[in-house]
Amino acid sequence: MSTVPSLPFDPASVPHVDQVGVEERASGLGKRSIKKEAKKAGIRLAISMIDLTTLEGKDSEGKVRQLCRKAIQPMPGDPSVPHVAAVCVYPNLVPVAKDALAGSGVKVASVSTGFPAGLVPLPVKIEDTRRAVAMGADEIDMVIDRGAFLSGDYAKVSSEILAVKDACGDAHLKVILETGELETYDNVRKASHLAMAAGADFIKTSTGKVAPAATPAVVLVMLEAIRDFYLDTGKRIGMKPAGGIKTSKQALHLLVLVKETLGDAWLTPDLFRLGASTLTNDLLMQLTKEMTGSYQNEDYFTKD
C-alpha cells in the first residue's frame, strides 16, 4: 500500500496545444538579447543548474571520479564559478559518485526503472529504485512506460510513478517523459500533468537516447503545464530539459523560457536543471570570453 498521495488526473481536462503557436512563441523568446552582466549572471546560473551526466555502457569508476571533480570545481583556479547541481549516473556507479562528491554540496542522481526504455516489470523498477537510493542516490530519474501512455493506459503509467515515488523515500523523483517518442505537444502536455499529479518532484524531457529531445517548444509546453499545476494546487514542480543541450546560447534560451513563463521562483537549481554532458565547457568558454574579452583555445578547458 502506497504512502504517497496522488492527485486526480483527468486527461480530458488537459488543455490542447497548437503546434504552430507554441513553436512561434518558443522561438520568439530565443530572440531575447542576453548581453554583458545578464550573460555572465545567466551563465553562472546555468552552471549551477547542470546535472552533469554520463550514461554509457562503458562508464567506469575512473570516469565517474574525474567527472565528479569537474562537477565540484568546473573552472580550476576560479572559485567564483559555482559547482554544478548534481552528477547523474547509472545505479552501479552511485557509490563511487557519492564518495567522490562527499561534502561538496553536489547531489548524486541515478537513473532508474529500467532506464532508458522502462520496459521491465514494476517490481524490478521498484527494486532498481530502492537499491539506487540505498546506495546513496539523492535523486532518482525514472522513465515512464511510453508504450502504456501511447496506448491510453494512463492508470498504469500513473500507478508506476506512484509506486516509484514511494520507493524513493526522501530522494527527489524526476520523471522522464521521453518527449521524442510521445511526438505531439498534446501528448507532452498530457504526460506532464499525469506525472505531476502522480507525485513527480521534477518532470524531465528526455533520456538523451532519443532525438528530438529538449527542443525549446517542448520545454515551453512542459513549463506551461508546471505553471498551471502550481496555480491550481500551490505545488511547485521542477523542470529538467535534457538531451542535445550543447551550447550556452541554447542554455540561455531555456533560462529565458523559465524566466518569462514561471518567473523568479523557478530560477534556482532547486526547481530547474539542465541535463547535459558537454554543455559545461561551452558555458565556461563563453564566461571566460565575457570576462577577458577574447575566446580561449579549447585546451584551456578540461575534457573529462
Partner: protein, 506 residues
Amino acid sequence: MSTIVEEKTGKRQAAEKFESERPRLEFGGAWEYSPAPESKDHVRIEKRYGVFIGGKFVPPKSKKYFETINPATEEVLSEVAEGGAEDVDAAVRAAEEAHRKRWSKLAPAERGKYIYRIARMIQEKSRELAVLESMNGGKPIKESRDVDVPLALAHFFYHAGWADKLEYAFPRHTVSSIGVCGQIIPWNFPLLMAAWKIAPALACGNTVVLKPAETTPLTSLALAKICQEADLPPGVVNIVPGAGETGAHVVNHPRVRKVAFTGSTEVGKIIQRAIAGTGKRLTLELGGKAANILFEDAPLDQAVEGIINGIYFNQGHVCCAGSRLLVQESVAERVLGKLERRIATLRLGDPLDKNTDVGAINSKMQLEKIRELVACGVEEGAEIHQSSCAIPARGFFFPPTFFTGVAQSHRIAREEIFGPVLAVMTFRTPEEAVEKANNIPYGLSAGVWTDKGSKIFKITSKMKAGVVWANTFNKFDPSSPFGGYKESGFGREGGVHGLRAYVELS
C-alpha cells in the same frame, strides 16, 4: 446600516485573505536582462529634407518645413518640407511626364528589373531602415527588424515578378496602366505601407505621388533615396511630405487618375466625398475593431499569445488589431487570469532595445486620444487591468491595458482606440459570438480560436471581415489580399486582387 457595512468589510477581508494566499507568479529581478540597444551609428539622417520630385530632393515652393521627432525621447530628428499646392502640382506633372514618356513605354520585364533592384537595396539597407523606422515611429526594433522591413521588401520582390505577367493575372483582357496614382499612407507602418502602395502601382506601369504621414516621413524619404540610387527614371516615384492639407492637394489634383488611401474612416469618408463624380478610381483601407473569438475548446495558451500579439503588437497601432476579445463564459476566468499574468511580462520601454516588446505611442495627440478613451471606459463602469510596468519619464508611452466587464454598448467596445487597449466581452453560444463580432460598423479582420476544424470553417465563413485568421493573428504575405468590409474600406491590397486596383482592363 452599520451591520451591512461590517458584513461587507468582513467579506472583503476574507476575499483579500484568499487573494493573498492564492499561488502567484513573481516576474521580478531574479535575473535581469541588461540593456541591449541596437546601434544607431550607421543611420544617416539629414538635417533637412526637401520634397522628392522628378528624381531630386528640392526645396519646397511652400517654403514651409515641419519638425519630425522621436516619440520615445521627444528629440527632434530632422526638419522636413511641408508640400503645398504648388509642390503637389509639380510632383503630379513630373509623374505624368514620366508615365507618358518613359514608364508606360518601358518593356514590362524592364520595369520588373527596376522593382527587383529596389527590393534588393531595401534588403541591403535592412538594418538602417529598421533603426530609422523605430526612431521615427516608436515601434520596437524587434518588430521593425523582423516584420516591417522584411515584409516591405517581400512586397517589392513579389510585385517585381508580376510586372511582365499581368496578362496572366487577367486572362482574356488587354492590360494597360492608369497613369498617376496619388497615394496617402498612415504612420503606423510607414515603410511597409509605402511598399504596399508603390510596388503594385509601379509593377502595373503607373507612376506615383506619395504623401507619407506627418509624424513619420523619414523612411519614405529613405525609400526616395533608394529610388535615386536604383536609377529609377525620374518622376516615377515622387514623395511629398506634409499633413492633411498636403493630402487634400494630392486627392484633389485633376491629373491624378487614381487615389489610394490608408488611414482613418473619418478621412476616408472625406476623400470619397471629394472625388465623387471626378472619374478617379479609389481604394480605401480604413479603421477596424476586430474581434478575436475564443472558444472553450481552443488551445488556451497559444490563444492568449495570439490575443497579446493581436492587440499589443506595434502598441495597438494596427488597423486590423484584435481590439475586442469575445471569450466563451466557461473559460473566461482562466483566460483572463492568463492574460493578466502575461501582460506582466511584456517589456515596455526604449524602442531601440532588442528586448522591448512594447514601444512608444506614435505621437502626443494619439496618446491623448488613448487616454481619453481609457478614461471613458473607466467612467462607463468597465473594470480596468493594466500592467504595472515602469513608464519612461520622457516620450509618449502607455501601459498594456485590458478592460473586463465590457458591454457591446460601451464606447471602448465600439470605437477604434488605436492603442494598446483591449475590450473583453463574454459569450455563451457560437451564434451569439458571431452576432457580437459582426455587430460593428467596421469589418477589416477577425480571429477564431478553436481546436475543432469544423468549427473553424463554420465560424470563419460567417464573419463579415476582409481577413479572418484561425488559431493565429496578424499574419501577412504579399500574395494574400488585404482589405475591408463595410466602413473598413474597399479594394484589396496584395495578391492578384491587389493588382486590379492599378490596371485598366479592356
